[in-house]
């Protein structure tokens, strides 16, 4: 296992400690509940925004705790949603008179923990609302299945409600805005390699040198199909063919275009994909309002990338442009 780790079971706590130490006092860490939160929260006048998902998707979601984004994160172990207790204790600690917003990626584990956690909070008289992120078009969505997964689109949900909540929006308003983002965001991911969860110590799956996994899940779950690895241009075609008709995104739409690295792909390649996608969209009359090229939601060191489109209106555009202060930065 080619990793910088001590005891693999301490990977998540040590990472959280590192994030906190790097934050210059802006974040606090509560080891008991794997909890990272803004040192200046909760605040009377602001809804507290919380996410708890599996670890291994960094910078999502533990490294986007900060002003204008999440107020707290309580991750589980690598690729495992947090225990119910973490959700409950985090919500209690962050409780605000304006309420608490749970942003939950649509995985059964995350959902169950947050449903039960919310019940426990409500029994304590707290006001809690939930947003369910499900942007992954790789998964067939229907009423009798568990529905789509939440993947990189999660970032836009957090960015929009984070900005709105800094502006003072109340809980209902945040739910409205969050659901607007969710209704307008779609993602497809493609993996070129597997990844190695620290505790497991070996690859999650095998994939041949000339293969790719189309529609990969961010926990290494198999996707739509395993195919031969094709060129960057053909890969963008596959991504757009899955994402664009799904909403559908149409001529005249304005979008935020995200190329998200899954962890092991160098950013140079992400920009290659970006350039191709940008040109294809503009050629189809879909205007790129803003670009997002980086790692936002990863699967440890998996080589691969996802493409996310968010259809924006004036409200969302303005929220996306608001400032945010998070751990990840270049300067």
């Amino acid at each position: 296992m080619k990793k910088f780790v001590n005891d693999p079971r301490q990977f998540v706590p040590e990472m959280l400690e590192g994030i906190t130490l790097a934050s210059d006092g802006r974040l606090k860490y509560e080891p008991k509940y794997n909890l990272i939160y803004r040192a200046d929260m909760p605040q009377e006048g602001k809804v507290s925004i919380i996410q708890g998902s599996g670890s291994g998707h960094e910078p999502a979601h533990t490294m986007i705790v900060g002003k204008g984004m999440l107020d707290a994160a309580c991750p589980g172990d690598v690729f495992a949603g947090p225990p119910v207790e973490f959700v409950y204790e985090t919500s209690k600690l962050l409780n605000s008179p304006k309420g608490v917003l749970h942003i939950v990626n649509n995985y059964t584990g995350d959902r169950l923990a947050f449903e039960q956690g919310r019940e426990m909070c409500e029994m304590d008289g707290m006001r809690v609302e939930t947003l369910l992120v499900n942007d992954d078009v790789a998964v067939k969505d229907s009423t009798w299945t568990v529905g789509r997964r939440g993947v990189a689109g999660n970032f836009f949900v957090i960015k929009a409600v984070g900005a709105a909540s800094e502006r003072g929006a109340d809980l209902d308003e945040l739910v409205r805005i969050g659901n607007k983002v969710i209704a307008n965001v779609r993602t497809l991911g493609i993996a070129l390699s597997s990844c190695t969860p620290p505790v497991k110590g070996t690859f999650l799956f095998d994939i041949a040198d000339d293969e790719m996994e189309v529609g990969i899940g961010i926990h290494g779950e198999p996707g739509r199909q395993r195919t031969k690895l094709v060129s960057a241009t053909e890969i963008v075609d596959i991504m757009l063919a899955a994402v664009v008709p799904d909403l559908p995104f149409q001529r005249g739409d304005e979008v935020a275009l995200m190329i998200n690295g899954l962890g092991g792909t160098p950013i140079g390649e992400l920009y290659v994909l970006y350039g191709i996608a940008h040109k294809k969209l503009e050629a189809d009359g879909i205007r790129v309002f803003r670009s997002y090229v980086n790692e936002y939601c990863t699967s440890l060191e998996m080589a691969g990338a996802s493409l996310t489109l968010l259809k924006v209106d004036e409200e969302l555009k303005s929220l996306l442009l608001d400032p945010a202060e998070v751990s990840i930065r270049v300067f």
Binding site: G76, G109, V199, E221
Partner: protein, 218 residues
């Protein structure tokens, strides 16, 4: 199965916890086929505490004991398994109440309460390729044996063995199923052809419990 003392409950819980810890990697491997490979590790986070702290648990009744286990699981286990297994233990605890001795019928009531909890919490029905597909037929078999007049003259040794064997076979029978719940469901058709991790774990755990039971009561 004659009436069971707290001692017997200890045996079952300790055996279960130890079996889970011992099978961490195996259970995780099962979950890597169409899942995300964390199942064994997630369960271990809770059950290793059950192993290490068992002596400190409040044993004033079966209910308090099961509740404590349920709290440990809810507090330590993430993923689907935390809420599912945590709920199972908490519902079992409620069903057991302040009893300190259980009849065979009590055992079945408790197990049925756990199953109902799992179904309510996770929304799964039989045939959706989850641990229910091993657990439910195993409890059915156990109940059939225990209500059969000749079935309990051996302290339930054969009844438990039969329940374990049913679970093992049922786990194997999840192979051709299409996963409709949990992470495996995202893979659609590709979930067909491999056993469900949770169902297999139920089989392994029941086999261990049955063996331990036979050793004590057989």
């Amino acid at each position: 199965m004659n009436d069971q003392s707290l001692d017997d409950v200890d045996l079952v819980l300790r055996t279960m916890a130890k079996t889970i810890v011992d099978n961490t990697v195996y259970f995780a491997e099962l979950d890597s086929v169409v899942g995300d490979g964390d199942f064994g590790y997630s369960l271990r986070n809770g059950f290793e505490v059950v192993v290490s702290d068992y002596d400190t648990f409040d044993r004033s009744s079966v209910g308090t004991l099961l509740k404590k286990v349920g709290f440990v699981i809810s507090g330590k286990v993430g993923g689907v398994s935390g809420p599912i297994w945590g709920t199972a233990f908490l519902r079992a605890s409620a069903a057991a109440g302040d009893k300190t001795v259980l009849t065979g019928a009590d055992v079945i009531t408790i197990l049925r309460a756990a199953i109902t909890g799992v179904m309510q919490r996770g929304g799964a029905s039989l045939g959706e390729k989850t641990l229910l597909d091993a657990l439910v037929p195993a409890v059915d078999a156990l109940e059939a044996r225990l209500t059969d007049p000749g079935g309990v003259d051996d302290h339930g040794v054969r009844a438990l063995q039969e329940a374990a064997d049913v679970a093992t076979r049922a786990a194997e029978a999840t192979k051709p199923m299409l996963a409709l719940r949990g992470r495996a469901a995202y893979t659609g058709e590709r979930s067909i052809g491999s056993v469900d991790a949770g169902a297999t774990a139920i089989g392994v755990i029941l086999q261990s419990i049955s063996a331990a039971w036979r050793q004590k009561h057989g």
